[in-house]
Amino acid sequence: MHPAEPIFKGDAAMSAKYKHFRLETDRDGLVWVTMDKQGASTNTFSKDVMEELSALIDDLVAMKPRAMILRSGKDSGFIAGADVEEFKAARSVDDALAIVRRGWDTFNKLAAVPFPTVALVRGFAMGGGLEVTLACKYRIAVDEPATRFALPEVMLGILPGWGGVMRLPRLVGPTAALDIMLTGKTVDARKAKRIGLVDAAVPPRVMENAARMMALEAPPQKKLPLKERMMAGPLKGMVANMARKQVAKRARPEHYPAPYAILDLWQKYDGDPFAPPAGSAASMATLASHPTTANLIRVFALQERLKSLGKESDFTAKHVHVIGAGVMGGDIATVCAMRGLTVTLQDQNAERLAPAVKRAHDLVRKRVKDKYRARDTMDRLIPDVAGDGIRRADVIIEAIFENLEVKQNLFAEVEAKAKPTAILATNTSSLKLADISKKMKDPARLVGIHFFNPVPQMMLVEIVKGDATRPELAKDAAAFVRQIDKLPLPVKDAPGFLVNRVLGPYMANAFRLIDEGIAPETLDKAAEQFGMPMGPIALADTVGLDICAAAGKSLAGADAKPPACLVKRLEANKLGKKSGEGFYRYEKGKAVKGQAGPVTDDLIERLIAPYLAEARKTVDEKIVADAELADGGLIFGTGFAPFRGGPMHYLAERGRA
């Protein structure tokens, strides 16, 4: 037993009653309830766990303990929330409502027990995992990077129906609560303490003692500041309306009803999911039957599937060598360093490395809050003009400009120096692996690991298997991509792979529509109405019109006639956002847009049709293994409207309708 553990009286009889919980009473008369879901590595509130908790609370009330402390017996974290599999399996709206009812009643019962209750949270507390802590009187967070609180329900198109919408605003005030509920973002231990979500954030060495003292002392509950009480009281309607406006900037109610439902539920029904009348937008029934909900749950499943593709190999890298310190190469290096890898970053001279070092510092400063860990991250990112890291690296990624001969020579050189077990990868987006590997002794050693800009934000990474690529190598590459917390997608070595292949005709078509006289503003608005995060023209400006032209050429062939609107701008050196003007003019990095014309269904259809047609072709041509992977790749790689569940799914649904 850990020396810091309290001394317990045996409660073997008590514990034997439960499958998923252990009960121990310490010498102070505190009952420690350890949740340890049977046969699972992660705690989730499946049906039987929730029912057992409900029975356990009844038993506790009968025991009349001095206080109760709830903690997790899993190394992976506290509680991950509801069992998403059960939610996915729910056949009807009634099934879904039964899940909500179970948690709502259980947590209300927990909140009403007559003795102090403390949740001791180490690791993630997501969704129902956070809501159960809200039903406790006190919360203690262990101050470690892994400790994170979130209500991610909104991202699945549902709402925190186990008391989250009711209790969180009461605890931390509407400002912080709405922010958490409407975005699904995570809060670490220190922020949780700052906003009042937890009563203390403590290091692990004192966590048991902190929980014990909190339970014994049972201090009075803190009151919210006056401003927050006003916002939850007389100003509630105004606050809700302001929040609706904020949400509307990111999500249309017809596409994403959940955030609006959360606001309604808070404003009008004090978070009780059973209060709204049938048919109201805030009702669970309405939400559960909305197609977006099923589609977002599908997106979640697609993400899990992409993650699982990294589990087919137990390859782990310690050292990554990146060649080419441009924006792409530099960002790849920084992302790897932030994930704990030692990284050497090579370019022709130190002057070329300097801007990458600056970008890395800027990103690390933003992403790694602890100054010591930030320093460690930067210490691991080693500028390496001589390329000494090639000999040590487990993964070598080439991210230089697209010149076939230079890449051929580079890989011949790299192959000679690298460890025999190292992954040799190219980040090429337009060259064939079979060509790049021409001068290698063993072309089977080359794989494509294709990142997307901006690397720190883009989740998807294409794993390109050339005809010669050793199959295990592609699996190793996918495992590496998981190691740096990205989503791997195996693709065939065909021009454009998946993402650029589908974007190509979509963009080319958009340029043609401009040549036909449609305003860029109108096109972008049409795309946004369909649900794209960014219209094609704004995307072109962001990527750079020169890059678009080059990509178009490599996909359509050098003989294809480039769109006039593109040629005109390139000739005037209007390259997009980076040069200050492309299709739009940019002031301080923001596009100056004119009035959009009317958007008709016909225009949306004309804009999206080439995208959908090309997506279907990639499946037919086996660029990816199946339609599901095409959907996953295009959602995480191009931002294709997530609420539609992916282009292939959308086509299938449309066919059905």
Binding site: A350, V357, K358, D388
Partner: protein
């Protein structure tokens, strides 16, 4: 002489960055980390394979007092590799090497990263002693009446800071600033202002030439650069020793006023070493270490010597430390192919050369029947020295050992001596051999 062969595997340093009147862009541990990681990256073992890390530092900052351990961890040597810090003023970096040698001779280590560092631009400003006493009284005062009484005794002059680096460069036994000990040598051996300035100009010219020929970037030493670039957190690149004055001239130097003995002296900021930030490392290994990790040694440290002398004459330390090594190996001054005498002051290096020529000094202080004679200055500091590239106190001792070896490799020489004077009246020297 070392009791078993001590091999130099490789070495690297940061550019030496001149202090510009405000804290420089790097903490000392930043400099040591950036030079160390570049060095380790080009060697065929992992940082965790090191047996220990030893770092010399004359003025580590208050938040990284055991800077050797701080840097070992930052380099990824892992929790199990011990790291420690040594201090022997200007020879701290050389002391680190010698401590590594001692542990390797004793069989306690076979592969050691050793070097030196200082970020003199970040030397602290200190409260004066009167201010410290005033503060103590103020905090001790309990009632507001008592506090008011202490407040009334406050004088603005209390706030005048003590400049940490001036304290560090002042001898605590004889009360002389280092530059004043150099004035002593100029006076004793009749070294003129012009001779000192000439020496300084030559130092700048030689470093300029070395930079132009790329010899510090690995030209002539198999591509393994002595100077590795460093980057600050705004992405600024520092690739060269930036204290060098390519246009240094007698006319220019003549305009400077004596700095240490104001008005009447001869030692100026121009013919003294510069206040500078920098770090230098060597990887040392025993025979066993070489075999175990498949290393390719480039040199050996054959012998080392420490010596003590009158603190007011501390600049002659190299004479006292090198002479016994020469005697042990039966060598004359010019039997060596390269000499690095750290240029704390032009007067001090010239003083060393004069002492070796001086029958009286040789007999009285070195116990020699006749003087060793004239050291060929074409073998001395051929790529310039601390007057041109600066003297980040803790780093210099390691730098000159590394550079001696690099000069030998480049010129095809066999043996050389790196030697340094030490504030407080000491000298250190190492006999280096190229393989």
């Amino acid at each position: 002489m070392t009791t078993k062969p001590i091999y130099i595997i490789d070495g690297a340093r940061t550019p030496f960055l001149k202090a510009k009147g405000k804290p420089g862009p790097f903490m000392a541990s930043d400099l040591a980390t950036q030079a160390g990681r570049a060095l380790l990256n080009r060697l065929p073992f992992a940082p965790t394979d090191l047996d220990e890390v030893i770092l010399g530092a004359a003025s580590p900052s208050a938040d990284e007092v055991n800077i050797g351990r701080v840097v070992a961890l930052r380099l990824g040597a892992g929790q199990h590799v011990p790291g420690w810090t040594v201090m022997r003023n200007c020879a701290s970096g050389m002391q680190a090497l010698d401590s590594a040698i001692a542990n390797m001779e004793a069989g306690r280590a076979n592969l050691v990263l050793a070097g030196g560092v200082d970020a003199l631009s970040r030397a602290p400003l200190l409260f004066s002693e009167t201010m410290v006493h005033w503060l103590a009284n103020f905090y001790a005062a309990k009632t507001s009446g008592q506090k008011a009484a202490v407040l009334a005794r406050f004088k603005l002059a209390n706030l005048a800071p003590v400049i940490g680096i001036m304290k560090g460069l002042t001898d605590p036994n004889v009360g002389l600033i280092m530059g004043q000990t150099a004035e002593n040598l100029a006076w004793r051996f009749g070294i003129s202002r012009e001779q000192q300035d000439e020496f300084a100009v030559r130092s700048h010219q030689r470093l300029t030439r070395a930079q132009e020929q790329g010899v510090l970037d690995g030209n002539g030493t198999g591509g393994h650069a002595e100077v590795v670039p460093v980057f600050d957190d705004r992405g600024h690149l520092y690739a060269l020793d930036d204290g060098v004055r390519r246009d240094s001239s007698m006319q220019g130097l003549a305009k400077l006023k004596p700095f240490f003995d104001k008005k009447y002296g001869t030692v100026t900021a121009g013919n003294s070493s510069q206040v500078t930030d920098g770090a230098a490392w060597l990887v040392l290994a025993t025979e066993e270490g070489v075999k175990r990790h498949g290393l390719a040694p480039v040199g050996r440290i054959v012998d080392s010597q420490w010596a003590g002398l009158d603190p007011t004459q501390m600049g002659l330390g190299p004479v006292h430390a090198s002479t016994p090594i020469l005697a042990r190996h039966g060598l004359g001054l010019n039997d060596l192919d390269a000499w690095e005498i750290n240029e704390a002051f032009a007067a001090q290096v010239l003083g060393c050369l004069a002492a070796w020529k001086d029958p009286g000094y040789s007999e009285e202080h070195l116990g020699l029947d006749k003087p060793l004679g004239e050291l060929d200055t074409e073998k001395l500091n051929i790529d310039g020295g601390a007057i041109a590239l600066g003297h980040p106190v803790g780093a210099s001792g390691a730098r000159i050992v590394l550079h001696t070896l690099n000069v030998l490799r480049r010129t095809g020489g066999k043996r050389g001596i790196a030697t340094i004077c030490i504030g407080g009246g000491q000298g250190g020297a190492m006999l280096v051999e190229a393989l």
